[in-house]
């Protein structure tokens, strides 16, 4: 046990945090596979096929698509949003307060920034893999009609980060999880239901449509649909991207402050 120095591998420090999260996930992945792959399929079968049958009988096509094809891409957006939410609130609060594994990490060469970037990089990785699998599933249901669909995994990552980055920042500063449930009920559930996910935005009366645009998920849904069908102007899509990137960047900047304060005070 004599103190010795060892030849270091020169792996960037944030990547070590990424590895840690990955190694942890490798032990606990089973349940989340069901939720990230099986659940979207079940939703598609129930709403897309079942309710889709009713819609086709009554209305026919929705925005030029069958109902199944209409909602399939938007479920990619909701799934990646939920991935970002689920990974960022309770797990982070547990790591900085209940089990304090991030404090243990901060006692190693890692800096708070490294821990934050490693975490977000890991969440992004999961989002990327989930989106690829999901894109294939949606493709099998025949809902992809454009080469732009190839960008869906990247859009999935962007949506996840737009939620994950601010929520990690928030959780890193939180004292208890009391507000998390409220956040779910009053922010995430309404966003899930009212972001033109299950029906076109034209269903809203005109005065409500601008309100819907305040939901970050709405921009994700719009972007995902545009990519799936290769429709809509590029300028508008870039505006959607800008909203999501803005959220992610704000979250990262905020998170650097809260994580540092939490781990070094």
């Amino acid at each position: 046990m004599t103190p010795t120095t060892h030849a270091t591998q020169r792996q960037p420090r944030w990547l070590r945090s990424w590895w840690y999260h990955a190694a942890f996930y490798a032990q606990t992945w089973r349940g989340s596979v069901a939720s990230s792959i099986l659940f979207p399929i079940l939703y598609l079968a129930s709403l897309g096929v079942g309710v889709g049958h009713l819609v086709t009988a009554h209305t026919g096509l929705v925005e030029g698509q069958t109902y199944l094809h209409f909602i399939a891409p938007s479920l990619l957006a909701t799934t990646t949003m939920q991935l970002g939410e689920g990974e960022s609130l309770w797990p982070v609060l547990a790591s900085v307060k209940w089990i304090r594994t991030y404090h243990a990490a901060a006692a190693t060469p890692l800096e708070p920034d490294d821990i934050l970037f490693g975490k977000l990089a890991w969440v992004a990785t999961r989002a990327f893999v989930t989106s690829i699998i999901y894109t294939i599933i949606v493709g099998c249901f025949g809902a992809l009609t454009s080469w732009w669909s190839l960008t869906l995994p990247l859009i999935g990552v962007l949506i996840t980060l737009a939620f994950s980055a601010p929520l990690v920042a928030y959780a890193a500063a939180a004292q208890s999880d009391a507000s998390f449930t409220t956040l779910y009920r009053f922010a995430f559930v309404p966003m899930f239901l009212f972001s033109a996910t299950f029906y076109p935005v034209s269903a809203y009366p005109g005065y409500l449509r601008p309100v819907v645009q305040f939901f970050p998920l709405y921009h994700g849904v719009a972007l995902v649909r545009a990519a799936a069908y290769g429709r809509g102007s590029l300028a508008i899509q870039l505006a959607h991207v800008a909203v999501l990137v803005g959220l992610a960047v704000t979250g990262v900047l905020w998170g650097r402050r809260t994580m540092r304060r939490r781990l070094t005070d």
Binding site: H6, Y20, F24, I99, T101, P109, E111
Partner: protein, 309 residues
């Protein structure tokens, strides 16, 4: 600054808002030394530990560790430190071995090295048989040992332990102390906080007594006792509730007198002789005990409070 010191701190202050947890302390710790912080809860020990772990920044003052400044060389310093926090902060859902291996990767150690060291450390902390079990199933003492093993995964030059044996049963404590002795023999510098007197006397070459954010005394355990206390102590209990009433009658027998709610302490050179004199003078305590002075008495003398308060 001389090269003998692995850690030096000057006028260290830590404030949280209006609250001043650490109020200007100086420290110099030599390589291979085992150094203790002794004090009750809230004395500022943990805040000090976090600053000398290169994790939290001091509000005022300077620290150098291995001759480096933590505010600019945090990662380099922590690469050479082992830290055992007060809470174990282990991954409860994962296996014992995996906890060590995953942590080792934080130090950028190659996988092969991490695996070898984990095996070695599990042996060292007597956890080899539980290597594949979930941490959640371990006893408190085993979790503590695993946390120490985790702190050693990078072969640190300094091992910093915050209250290493709080909440453990006597058997688990002695096992832990034994492991810490061995590390010390191997040349690891140990920095320990504790509010247990016996632990400080057993483990520390030198210690500082902290109270309300300041250092009130510094030295080897024995020399602190010699300096701040007498050789022996007579502890008397009386059937009466009013121990204060005995003050004037007992004062002539002792160098110093402490009246506690449940007993009276007389600081003397020859305990048995004093006790005989007391009995001869017609004072009849309900129980009497003669013992050697300990760090507890030093603390009582310096702060006027007992450590367990």
């Amino acid at each position: 600054m001389t090269n003998d010191y692995v850690l030096e701190a000057r006028r260290l202050v830590k404030r949280f808002g209006d609250f001043e947890a650490v109020r200007g302390i100086d420290l110099s710790i030599e390589r291979g030394e085992s150094f203790g912080f002794l004090g009750p809860n809230g004395a500022g020990k943990t805040s000090t530990m976090r600053m000398i772990s290169a994790v939290s920044q001091p509000t005022e003052g300077t620290i150098t560790i291995f001759g480096l400044d933590p505010s600019t060389h945090g990662p380099e310093i922590r690469q050479r430190l082992g830290i055992v926090p007060q809470e174990d902060s282990l991954e409860l859902e994962l296996s014992v071995r995996l906890n060590l291996e995953m942590f080792g990767r934080y130090f950028d150690l190659p996988r092969r090295v991490v695996r070898e060291r984990a095996t070695e450390l599990l042996e060292f902390t007597q956890l080899s048989e539980r290597a594949n079990e979930k941490v959640d199933n371990l006893s408190g003492g085993m979790k503590r040992r695993l946390t120490i093993a985790r702190g050693l995964i990078n072969r640190p030059e300094i091992l910093i332990l915050d209250e290493p044996t709080t909440g453990l049963d006597p058997q688990a404590r002695h096992l832990l102390w034994d492991r810490l002795y061995r590390l010390k023999r191997e040349g690891v510098t140990l920095i320990i906080t504790t509010h247990y007197m016996d632990e400080a006397e057993q483990l520390c070459d030198r210690l500082v007594v902290m109270d309300r954010g300041t250092i009130v005394a510094e030295g080897a355990p024995r020399s602190l006792i010699d300096r701040y206390s007498t050789r022996e102590v007579v502890e008397l209990r009386f059937a009466s509730d009013n121990h204060e009433a005995f003050h004037d009658r007992l004062a002539p027998f002792a160098e110093r007198l402490e009246i506690l709610p449940d007993r009276v302490l007389l600081y003397v050179h020859e305990g048995d002789a004093t006790l005989r004199e007391i009995h001869a003078s017609g004072i009849t305590p309900s129980s009497a005990l003669v013992r050697r002075s300990s760090l507890e008495d030093v603390f009582l003398h310096l702060t006027g409070r007992s450590l367990s308060d």
